[in-house]
C-alpha cells in the first residue's frame, strides 16, 4: 500500500486504524510531540506559512506535493516504502530466510538500541538548528531549513512508530525519552556527541547538512538492508527525504564558494583578510570549517574495531552500504579488511577480520562519497580561475572515538607532537575569531529573491518556482 491515509489524526500508510491499541498509544504521544515542537522547534516560526513538500504517497508521483503550510500544522505521520512479499534477509547468519515482519526475541535489545540511537539524532538536529531562522541569508534558504526541520520531525515519527509497534512498554518509554533528552543539555544530552554540538551559523548549518546528514544517509542505507522488514521499509522512505538535506548542504557551500570567488576575481584579491573586508567568507575559513565537520562526523561511525558491529551484521540487523549490490558471500566470515593503526609514531595499515571492522567499512564508503562532493566544490573554484583547492583532512585527524582518539594527527596524516598541534591548530580548525567573523555576516534577509552578500543565489528555485517566489509568508 503506497497511498497515505490523511483522513486520520495521524496520517499513515500502515492501516493504523486496524490496530486500536497502537493507534491510541501514538495518539497519546502525538500531543507530547507537538509540545516538543512548540518548545524546541524552529524559534519564532509557528505562524509562518512555509512552502513545504508533503508526501501523499510513497510512490514517485506522490511524495513531492508542495504548498504553503504552517509548520505546527504539518501532517507528520507514518510512511513506509511498499512491501516486497518475497524479500529475504540477504546477509549474515539468517541469509536466505524470509525477512522478519516481527522482532526476533533474541535480537530485541540490539534492535531497540539501533532504533533509539537513530531516532535520537532526528529531534536533536531540529534543536541544534532552532535559532538559524533568525539569520537566514534568503527566503529560499529559510524555506529549505524549515523543510529539513519538519522532515527530521517526521523521521522521529518513523522511529517512534517502530518503538511503539514492536517493543511494547519499553518502546513507549524510549519514545517518551526521545522527547526529553535535549541537544547540549548538561543533565540529559542527546546520545551522540556530534548532536550536542551547536550549529551557530549558516556556514556550520551547510557543513552539518553536507557532512552529518550524509552520515544519516549511510546509516539509513545500512538499516534499509535490515532483515527486520519494517525497519528496512521505514528507512527506505526516509532516504528519499534525506536527499534534500544533503542538497541544501552541498549547494549552500557551493553558493558560498561561488560568491567568494566572484568577489576575489572582481577585486583581484586572494589574501583572506582582504577577502573578509569585502564581507564574504575566505576560502581558508571554509577549509577549517570543513576539517571540523568532517572529523566530528566520521566519529559518528563508531570505533574502528567493534564486536557490536559484527553482531549487528551477523544477526542480520544492519547491513553494509549497498549490501545487495555487492557480490561476496554476505557472511564475511573469512574476509579481512585493512585498517590503520599507529606503530612507532607512524600510521600503518593492518589487516583485521572484516566482521569486526564494519564500522570502518561504512566510514570509508562515507569518506569516498564526501570527497566526491568536495571535488565538485573545487570545480566551482577552478571555473573561477583560482588555484586554491579544498580537501578532506586525513581520517585520523581530530578524532575523539576509536584508535586515534587522544592522538595528534595533522590534516595530511602525520602523527605529530602536542607542541606541533598547538602551533598549528588555529590554521586547521575554526578559531573563535573565525566563528565570530562568520557570525558577524549573519543577518536576516527576507525580501523575496534577495540574498545575503556572502552567498550567491541558487541556480533554480524549489519545485520549478522562481528564486524570488514567496517561499515563506511571514503573516
Amino acid at each position: 500500500m503506497s497511498s497515505i491515509n490523511y483522513s486520520e489524526k495521524i496520517p499513515n500508510n500502515v492501516n493504523l486504524s486496524e490496530d486500536r491499541t497502537l493507534q491510541r498509544a501514538l495518539e497519546h504521544w502525538q500531543p507530547n510531540y507537538l509540545q516538543w515542537w512548540q518548545d524546541m522547534g524552529p524559534d519564532g516560526s509557528h505562524g509562518f506559512d512555509v512552502y513545504l513538500r508533503t508526501a501523499v504517497s510513497t510512490t514517485p508521483e506522490g511524495w513531492a506535493h508542495f504548498g504553503h503550510v504552517k509548520m505546527p500544522d504539518y501532517r507528520w505521520g507514518i510512511f513506509l516504502a511498499a512491501q516486497d512479499q518475497n524479500r529475504q534477509v540477504h546477509f549474515g547468519e539468517h541469509k536466505g530466510e524470509a525477512a522478519w515482519q516481527d522482532v526476533p526475541g533474541e535480537h530485541r535489545a540490539n534492535l531497540r538500541r539501533i532504533i533509539v540511537t537513530q531516532g535520537d539524532t532526528e529531534p536533536a538536529s531540529v534543536e541544534q538548528q532552532r535559532h538559524l531562522g533568525l539569520t537566514a541569508p534568503s527566503q529560499y534558504d529559510l524555506r529549505n531549513l524549515f523543510q529539513i526541520n519538519v522532515e527530521e520531525g517526521r523521521h522521529l515519527w518513523a522511529m517512534v512508530y517502530l518503538l511503539h509497534k514492536y517493543f511494547g512498554r519499553d518502546g513507549r518509554e524510549e519514545a517518551e525519552a526521545l522527547l526529553h533528552r535535549n541537544s547540549g543539555d548538561q543533565d540529559n544530552p542527546r546520545i551522540l556527541e556530534a548532536f550536542n554540538e551547536e550549529t551557530p551559523d549558516w556556514l556550520a548549518f551547510y557543513m552539518f547538512t553536507y557532512f552529518t546528514d550524509r552520515d544519516g544517509k549511510f546509516q539509513l542505507c545500512a538499516l534499509a538492508e535490515s532483515g527486520f522488514d519494517p525497519l528496512a521499509r521505514t528507512c527506505r522512505f526516509m532516504l528519499t527525504e534525506e536527499a534534500h538535506h544533503m542538497f541544501v548542504g552541498e549547494s549552500g557551500i557551493s553558493r558560498t564558494i561561488q560568491r567568494t570567488c566572484q568577489i576575489m576575481k572582481e577585486h583581484g584579491i586572494e589574501d583572506p583578510e582582504q577577502v573578509r573586508q569585502q564581507g564574504v567568507i575566505d576560502l581558508p575559513t571554509l577549509q577549517r570549517y570543513l576539517n571540523f565537520h568532517f572529523s566530528v562526523t566520521i566519529d559518528l561511525f563508531g570505533a574502528d574495531q567493534s564486536s557490536n558491529a559484527a553482531t549487528f551484521y551477523s544477526s542480520g540487523l544492519k547491513g553494509r552500504y549497498e549490501e545487495t549490490k555487492r557480490d561476496d558471500d554476505h557472511l564475511l566470515k573469512g574476509e579481512h579488511y585493512r585498517i590503520l593503526e599507529v606503530q612507532n609514531g607512524k600510521l600503518v595499515e593492518k589487516e583485521v577480520p572484516m566482521l569486526n571492522s564494519l564500522n570502518e567499512v561504512l566510514r570509508d564508503d562515507y569518506i569516498k562519497d564526501s570527497i566526491a562532493g568536495i571535488g565538485r566544490w573545487n570545480k566551482v573554484i577552478e571555473k573561477a580561475g583560482l588555484s586554491f583547492r579544498l580537501q578532506a583532512p586525513h581520517k585520523a585527524f581530530n578524532r575523539h572515538i576509536g584508535t586515534f582518539a587522544g592522538m595528534r594527527v595533522s590534516p595530511d596524516g602525520r602523527v605529530i607532537s602536542e607542541a606541533e598541534w598547538q602551533a598549528n591548530v588555529r590554521s586547521w580548525l575554526p578559531t573563535e575569531e573565525d566563528r565570530a567573523y562568520v557570525a558577524s555576516l549573519m543577518g536576516r534577509v527576507i525580501e523575496p529573491g534577495k540574498m545575503a552578500n556572502w552567498i550567491a543565489p541558487p541556480p533554480v528555485g524549489i519545485n520549478r518556482q522562481p528564486v524570488d517566489f514567496d517561499y515563506v509568508r511571514f503573516n
Binding site: 508521483e61 528519499t240 549547494s251 566526491a372 541556480p459
Partner: protein, 407 residues
C-alpha cells in the same frame, strides 16, 4: 519530399552535473532503469528514457529537469554525458531542417510512471509512422461531430469523424494522430500540435471507408475566476460537417493490439481514454461478425463520473457478455458511493488474476490520476491470488503485453 529527408528530432533528457548532488534518488525512482552513473556523473540513457518524468518530482535539486532538442542521430550518448562538467548549450537547429523535422512526440506524450512495454505485442500489425508532419500535414474533412455525453451532463465529449478522401492515412487501433489548430497563440506563434488517440478500427469508422474517429472532451478550465478554453479541444468540438482539418501522423508503435488466436485483452480506462479501447473492441467485433473471430477474452473496466458522462455508454450496453465482459465504474452518482475502476478491478479479481496467468495483454489509458490506484489494485489482487505481481509485471512489460498511456 521523401521520407529520408525528414530529420527526426528528440527532446533529450539530461541531468545538470553542476547542480546534481549524486544522491541516487533518480536512479532509484526510474521505472525502466534509464538512469545510470559512474564516480563522476549521473546520466540518462537516450535509448531507454521514455520521458515519463517519474524522476522529476523526487529530485531534490532540480538538476534532473533539463531537455535539449537535438537530431535523434546526434543524441548525446551515455559515454559523452559521463565526461561532462557542465551541460552543453541548446544547439541551434537550422530553420530549413526544422521545416522538415519530425519531433518525436510519442514518448513525451505519455505521462505514465509505471513501467510500460517498449515493444508492441508480437502479433501486432506493423504500424505506419510519421507519414505527415507539421510542415506537411494531410487535410481531412469532417463528416460527423456528435455529442456522446447526455445533454444534461456537465462534460461535453464528442465523437468526431474525419475522412481522408483518396489520401493514404493508414492507422491501427491504439495509434494517435496530431491535430494542428489554426491561428496563433498570444505570442504570435502557431499553435503546437495536439495528439489524439484514434477511436475507430483499422478499416475505418465505417468499415471500408477511408475515415477515422476521435473521442474529444471539450476542455474548460477556471483560472482566477476566468474561463479558459482548451485551444485544440474547443476547435475540434466546434467543427461542422464539411470543415477541413490539418492532421499529422500516424504516431505510436507500441500501444497496439495482438492479432493471434487466443490473445486476451484487459482494457482499463477512464473518460476519453476509452478511444483506443473502443477501437480494439470494434475491430474484434467486426472479425467476429465476419466469422474470423480471434478466440480470446475481452474485459473492459471503464470509469466516468456518471452513466450520462460515460462516452459510448449506449452502444456498449448492446454488446453481449459472451463477447466482452464489462465493468463500468461511476464516481459521482447521487446517493451511491464513489466507485473507481480500481474498485471494479478488485471486485472482479478472480476473473482478472485467472486471465493474468494466460496469454493476456493489458491496456491502461486515461487521466494520470488513475494509474497509481490501478497499479496498486493489480498488485494487491496478485498478492491475494499468490502471484508475484512484480515479476509478472516485468515479464509482461518485456513481452509487449503491458501498455500504459496516461495524460
Amino acid at each position: 519530399m521523401s521520407a529520408n529527408d525528414i530529420q527526426v528530432l528528440i527532446r533529450q533528457h539530461l541531468i545538470d552535473p553542476e547542480v546534481c548532488i549524486r544522491c541516487n534518488t533518480c536512479e532509484e525512482t526510474c521505472p525502466i532503469d534509464a538512469i545510470t552513473h559512474d564516480d563522476r556523473n549521473y546520466v540518462v540513457d537516450p535509448a531507454i528514457c521514455n520521458g515519463c518524468n517519474a524522476c522529476v518530482p523526487p529530485c531534490p535539486t532540480g538538476s534532473i529537469d533539463h531537455w535539449r532538442t537535438i537530431p535523434k542521430v546526434a543524441a548525446y550518448t551515455v559515454a559523452d554525458q559521463l565526461t561532462w562538467d557542465e551541460l552543453p548549450a541548446q544547439q541551434d537547429i537550422p530553420e530549413e531542417s526544422l521545416a522538415t523535422a519530425v519531433i518525436e512526440a510519442t514518448p513525451q506524450h505519455n505521462a505514465a510512471v509505471s513501467a510500460t512495454s517498449l515493444l508492441p505485442p508480437h502479433s501486432a500489425e506493423k504500424p505506419q509512422l510519421n507519414l505527415f508532419d507539421i510542415r506537411h500535414p494531410v487535410t481531412a474533412t469532417v463528416t460527423g461531430n456528435y455529442r456522446l455525453t447526455d445533454a444534461h451532463a456537465e462534460s461535453d465529449v464528442r465523437h468526431i469523424v474525419l475522412d481522408f478522401g483518396n489520401q493514404i492515412f493508414p492507422v491501427l487501433e491504439g495509434q494517435s494522430i496530431g491535430v494542428i489548430p489554426p491561428g496563433t497563440d498570444a505570442s504570435g506563434k502557431p499553435h503546437y500540435l495536439r495528439m489524439y488517440s484514434v477511436a475507430s478500427a483499422r478499416d475505418g469508422e465505417r468499415a471500408g471507408y477511408n475515415n477515422l474517429a476521435l473521442t474529444v472532451k471539450r476542455v474548460l478550465l477556471k483560472e482566477e475566476g476566468k474561463q479558459i478554453k482548451g485551444v485544440a479541444s474547443n476547435y475540434l468540438c466546434d467543427l461542422q460537417k464539411g470543415d477541413k482539418v490539418h492532421v499529422t501522423g500516424p504516431f505510436g508503435d507500441r500501444f497496439l493490439m495482438p492479432n493471434h488466436q487466443g490473445s486476451n485483452l484487459i482494457m482499463i480506462c477512464t473518460g476519453t481514454g476509452a478511444a483506443p479501447m473502443r477501437a480494439m473492441t470494434e475491430y474484434r467485433r467486426r472479425l467476429l461478425t465476419n466469422s474470423k473471430a480471434v478466440d480470446g477474452k475481452l474485459m473492459l473496466f471503464f470509469g466516468a463520473r456518471s452513466p450520462e458522462e460515460l462516452p459510448y455508454f449506449g452502444p456498449l450496453r448492446k454488446l453481449p457478455a459472451s463477447f466482452i465482459e464489462q465493468h463500468l465504474a461511476f464516481s459521482r452518482v447521487d446517493g451511491a458511493p464513489r466507485v473507481y475502476v480500481q474498485d471494479k478491478l478488485r471486485e472482479a479479481y478472480k476473473a482478472v488474476t485467472e486471465l493474468l496467468l494466460g496469454d493476456t495483454y493489458i491496456y491502461i489509458c486515461g487521466l494520470k490520476g488513475m494509474e497509481a490506484g490501478v497499479m496498486e489494485a493489480l498488485s494487491d489482487m496478485c498478492r491475494a491470488a499468490n502471484l508475484d505481481w512484480n515479476s509478472l509485471h516485468a515479464t509482461m512489460v518485456a513481452e509487449g503485453r503491458f501498455h500504459v498511456e496516461t495524460y
